[in-house]
């Protein structure tokens, strides 16, 4: 896979506010990348610098090994979909999509053919003479998408493409967008603050927090091997413990260490349900919430309060029930580093059984 985009030491400040701090990454051709992070973290600024709409204070941007820092947006070969779509409201759908082609002074027949092709591709056929005000949110989004694609960009940049769309349509559009981009094979970067969206759509996720790139990898890698406390906390859910001195199976080497435990690392059940009884802690159920596909259980274990899930087909727990709580593994936090610790008693218990 050839590298399409290469960014080295990118920084940008607005006054005293450092929006982007020393960010470097490479993106392969044809990849679909999600820039994920909380609002105000610098994702959009990175995207706008790639587009040439903002000038970096420091650092270099390369497209196909050519430095593009000094290239204006018009010459970067990009398509940009804005958060609010920024459709030309005095133009029809057709004219919106045709704009980039007219600027290129393409022949009329050619423009017409390409626009109609794109409208068909985006499921907007028949709407070409409507104005943006007459379209639904999802339709506007697709017009913005078709308009950005019309001049055949090599790189597609999407700023919070689904933020302004209601939940149900959003899901459909996500699937649609992923299929569409895979089919076109165009390198795409989209910004989102919604982890579910990033995990579902992106080939690779870059987690951006306070202007820094925290981690880059496939959604699975990031979920499985988070490298910073922020990533653990942001991707998936987690229980944060200030020290783990009182937990069986973990306290040996890391008494004072902070730890983060995902709910799915915790098994809660009655005595007869837990296999590794000796590795489990005793606890008392404090709260039980129905979550549709499962139960969310809040359980008190010594000084800790942990949250975990329990399948619906198991016996129903009630607040006050005494249960066993088995913690399979946890993330240990050493400053900015993360390491995984497995429950050692689990292994020993197994060895005895054999």
């Amino acid at each position: 896979m050839t590298t399409h985009i290469s960014v080295k030491g990118l920084s940008k400040s607005y006054g005293r506010f450092e929006a982007v701090r020393n960010v470097s990454f490479d993106i392969g051709k044809g990849r679909l990348i999600g820039l994920l992070g909380p609002s105000g973290g610098g994702k959009t600024t990175i995207l706008r610098m790639l587009a040439g709409l903002e000038t970096p204070d420091a650092g270099d941007i390369y497209f196909h090994n050519k430095r593009v820092n000094d290239l204006p947006p018009q010459k970067r070969g990009i398509g940009f979909v804005f958060q609010n779509y920024a459709l030309f409201r005095h133009m029809t759908v057709f004219d919106n999509v045709a704009f980039g082609l007219k600027v290129q002074k393409k022949k009329k027949a050619e423009i017409r053919e390409r626009v109609l092709h794109l409208l068909k591709l985006t499921g907007l056929a028949g709407l070409e003479s409507r104005y943006p005000q007459q379209l639904s949110g999802g339709q506007r989004q697709r017009v913005a998408f078709a308009r950005a694609l019309a001049p055949e960009p090599e790189l597609l940049l999407l700023d919070e493409p689904f933020a302004a769309i209601d939940a149900k349509v959003r899901k459909e559009l996500r699937t649609w967008l992923k299929e569409m981009i895979n089919r076109l094979g165009i390198t795409t970067i989209f910004v989102t603050h919604d982890q579910e969206e990033a995990v579902e759509v992106a080939d690779e996720i870059m987690i951006i927090h306070q202007g820094r790139l925290e981690q880059k990898g496939t959604p699975y890698e990031i979920y499985k091997n988070p490298q910073t406390p922020f990533v653990v906390g942001f991707i998936g859910e987690s229980n944060t413990l200030d020290d783990i001195a009182h937990l069986k199976g973990f306290h040996d080497d890391h008494a004072d260490t902070k730890a983060m435990i995902r709910p799915e690392f915790i098994e809660i059940g009655f005595e007869d349900e837990i296999v590794h009884r000796s590795a489990a802690e005793r606890g008392v159920v404090r709260n039980v919430y129905f979550r549709g596909a499962n139960w969310q259980i809040e359980v008190e274990v010594g000084p800790y309060r942990l949250s975990a899930y329990r399948p619906l087909e198991r016996r129903t727990l009630n607040p006050g029930d005494e249960v066993l709580v088995l913690i399979h593994r946890m993330y240990l936090v050493n400053g900015e580093q993360i390491s995984v610790a497995e429950n050692v008693l689990k292994r020993e218990a197994l060895a005895i059984h054999i």
Binding site: Q74, F82, F88, H90, R147
Partner: protein, 298 residues
Amino acid sequence: MAGSVTANYVSATAAARTGPLAEPAWVRRTLIAVAVIFLALLLILPLVTVFYYAFKEGVRVYFAALSEPDALSAVRLTLLTAAIVVPANTLFGIAAAWAITKFRFPGKNVLTTLIDLPFAISPVIAGLIFILVFGARGWFGPWLTEHDIKIVFAVPGIVLATAFVTFPFVARELIPLMQAQGTQEEEAATTLGARGWTIFWRIVLPNIKWGLLYGIILCNARAMGEFGAVSVVSGHIRGVTNTIPLHVQIVYNEYKFAAAFAVASLLMLLAFATLAVKSFVEWKYARGLAMKESGESI
């Protein structure tokens, strides 16, 4: 449907207040009566008076007053002034609105405030400023005399004074409009490969055209009707430096009431024409929106 209507200069039809919001009948009647009496006294009565006196001595006197050489010269000068001032201020207004809404630069707030200056200053003072700057004893007076350039008490002075007074109309109309519209559409055009002029003609201008037209209409009406500032710099040379309002005053002071009101009626007609064009622009604008918003059947 929630179209983004950013311009609010379209006179919206207010929803009738019904149910618990409705005031008692006597409040409503009193309010309406006060408004109607006020309008009649201050607007309609003077209007009727102008035409009454204009035609009091017959249609012949009316047209004689209008076709008199001095009157014709006043009309010509007024048209000339407007023809210079309105385009100049339109260009300035667009440039100023553009600078204020699209760029960040030091002194932006000062510029925004300065644009309003002509509204804040009495027109007579505005006229005096030009006398003090360009008059015989003004700063540039000696230099101008030396080079035989006449500004004050001549056509250039009238144009300058009028330009000063009508300076803010277009900019004032455009600034809120352009602020509301932001720069996103232009950024979108940029990423699609468009540059400066293309963006201006294809994206910015279509978005501001009705606001711009509205500003131009107001600017024109004021340019033709301005009295105070022009009166100071004109010197009242008959047939040379008199605009319509000045001519009306001179004729009136000579007790030729019918003639004065006849010429005044020209300005009245201009006012009507302005209102008509303004209503047309608003109607066009509202219809454009309505057309874009309805039409689900296209």
